[in-house]
Every structure is written in structure tokens, then in C-alpha cells.
Symmetry: none
Subunit: 154 residues, 2 copies
DNA sequence: CTGACTTTGACCTTTCCTGACCTTAATTAA
DNA sequence: TTAATTAAGGTCAGGAAAGGTCAAAGTCAG
């Protein structure tokens, strides 16, 4: 928490996020960079290091004229490090059994509805059946992670 | 929505389409261009990027005096049409963009719920990114097909 | 001094906007 | 009835306007 440029930009963006009732903001990379007198790629650095999924944020963007960067704060943070924990549990591969356990936990924690969990399980297992077995755990992890990202968003 | 001119024109046309019970509208290119203070070819750009067949639109036009541009939103008439077209659109490989377009279309056609679409969209947009690039389009096709089968069977 | 974090800049990709030039259809003049 | 004119819309390439990536250089606590 020094006075580094990255810290300043981070603080500024988080203030904007707090001020926005939906926890969603849109910025122009170039503008923000000018505002802080830094190079545009510095903004990317801040986004990567301060607003990653594990910390409860989603970032999407569009290039070209009228481009933008949209930062969303994920809600449902009943547990402070919920997202970090999910990310850690899933990592880059996860067995069917561990995935099942995770889903049960999420339901018990009332983070997922029962039928949402059922749907997620069905989607994931169905999707990976035709994939080579060696790939399945990795694909399951990717699928589950992304499903959870989008499900827990907003 | 960046508020680029293309976005504005797109929104305007889609509103017209929604207001029209048959999902068919006719415009004058020159007129529309004047209305938005842009060059006429900008209209073509919007039509190509926002209303292509893959996204469920048909555009036809006529030159010369009394010329026009007609935009139609396509609808699936039967379930058979739906699955046939899904199968065709997906085939054994599908790009991220095509997949996204298909999902948007399914939502617009009210075949998928918004919540379901969000979940599936998360998959097709992001899940594949950690897989080797050469495999992505094929894997995406497999995934999407299975996901849709599971989801649409209810 | 070293390793982690930060900052910068060169180069890349995507998306958008414009203008010059082309094609087609309807209308009018000969 | 033709031929010329006028009134549409179509194409394409180039430039501009974003944002993305990556690696090298800088900084700083320990």
C-alpha cells in the first residue's frame, strides 16, 4: 500500500466501484492513463494484479473505436475469500469426486441453489464425456470455474 | 456498449425491429445516414457486423430509384428446424464468435433463459482459453453441442 | 545484492469510420 | 422505344481509434 502508481489507480477504480450501485464501471484505457500520466499498459498491469477473479472481479473489454474496459465486482461475498477458495480448490484440474464435493459445499453454504448445482453437474459431466480421458480433469476444472464465475456474477 | 456510432445505429434498428410485430423493417440508406450524420457506407458496416445471417437476420436490398434495405429477424418455426440449424452451425468445429452469436440468438428466440444463457455463454467465451489453441474450435463444438443437448432437454 | 513488484515502450490485433468509385433501377428526354 | 439522366444502394481499401502483449528496465524492501 505504498504510493505507487498502481496503488493509486487501484484505489481510484475501487472508489468508482463503490460509488456505483451495481459494482460495474466502464473506463477508457487511454483516458485513465492520461489522467494518471502513465502509459496505457500500466492500466493492464493494475487490472491483472489488483482485479483478478480470485479477488472477486471480472474484467472485459472491447477494442477499436468506442472501445472500453468494463470492471465488475462480483457479489455474493458471504465469505471473504470465497473466490480465492474456489479458485484454489479447482486449480487447473479437478476430479469428478472433488468437483462433486465442491458443489455440495456451495449448496450447503447457500451460494448455489440446489437445482443450479444439479444443472452445473449435468452440464460439466455431459460436456466432457466425449473428451479423451487424460484431458477430462483439466477440462472439468475449466468448465466448472467458468460456470461458477458467471453464475456467481452480479 | 461503447456508444460508438455503429452501436447507436444498431440499437436504433433493433428497436424498430422489436416494435414491428413481424420483425421486418425497411429503411433508406441515405436517409438513415443523414439522420445519424454519417456516410452511407457506415450503414453497410452496421448491417454486416450486427445483422449477419449467423446472428439470425436476413438483409435484402434494392438499388436505383425507390431503392430500400429490408432487414428481417429470422425465427425458428419448429423444433426440427432448431436442432437442424444448431447442428449445422456447430458442425465439428465452431469459433468463439459463432458460438456466442448462436447463444444470443437462442436467447432472443426465447429458447434459452437468460440465466442459462449466461452460464453457457461463460463457457463458450472463456472455458476454452486454457486449452491448446489448435484444439479450441473442435473442443468448443463438442462442448456446445453437449451443453445445448443437456439444456434444451427439459 | 537479490528477488519481487512496478513502469515503460515497441509492436500487434480488433473495431470503426470515411471517401472514392462502381452497379442497378426508375424516370425522363429525344 | 431508346438513350440519357437521376436516384438509389454496394464495395473496398485506407486510416484512425481503441485495447492487448511482452519483455526489458527500473525500484525498493530485506
Amino acid at each position: 500500500m505504498g504510493g505507487s502508481m498502481a496503488d493509486l489507480i487501484e484505489a481510484y477504480l475501487k472508489e468508482l466501484l463503490r460509488d456505483n450501485p451495481h459494482g460495474i464501471i466502464e473506463i477508457r484505457r487511454r483516458e485513465l492513463a492520461d489522467q494518471f500520466r502513465c502509459v496505457p499498459s500500466q492500466i493492464n498491469y493494475v487490472l491483472e494484479t489488483r482485479f483478478p477473479f480470485e479477488k472477486g472481479y471480472l474484467v472485459e473489454s472491447r477494442r477499436g473505436g468506442g472501445g472500453y474496459i468494463r470492471i465488475m465486482r462480483l457479489q455474493w461475498r458471504t465469505e471473504r475469500d470465497l473466490f480465492a477458495e474456489i479458485a484454489e480448490l479447482i486449480s487447473d484440474a479437478i476430479s469428478a469426486q472433488r468437483a462433486e464435493e465442491l458443489l455440495i459445499r456451495l449448496v450447503e453454504a447457500r451460494i448455489l441453489e440446489e437445482r443450479e448445482a444439479i444443472m452445473l453437474r449435468g452440464l460439466v459431466e455431459q460436456s466432457i464425456t466425449s473428451i479423451e480421458p487424460e484431458m477430462q480433469d483439466r477440462l472439468r476444472a475449466t468448465l466448472l470455474r467458468n460456470l461458477l464465475i458467471v453464475t456467481l456474477r452480479r
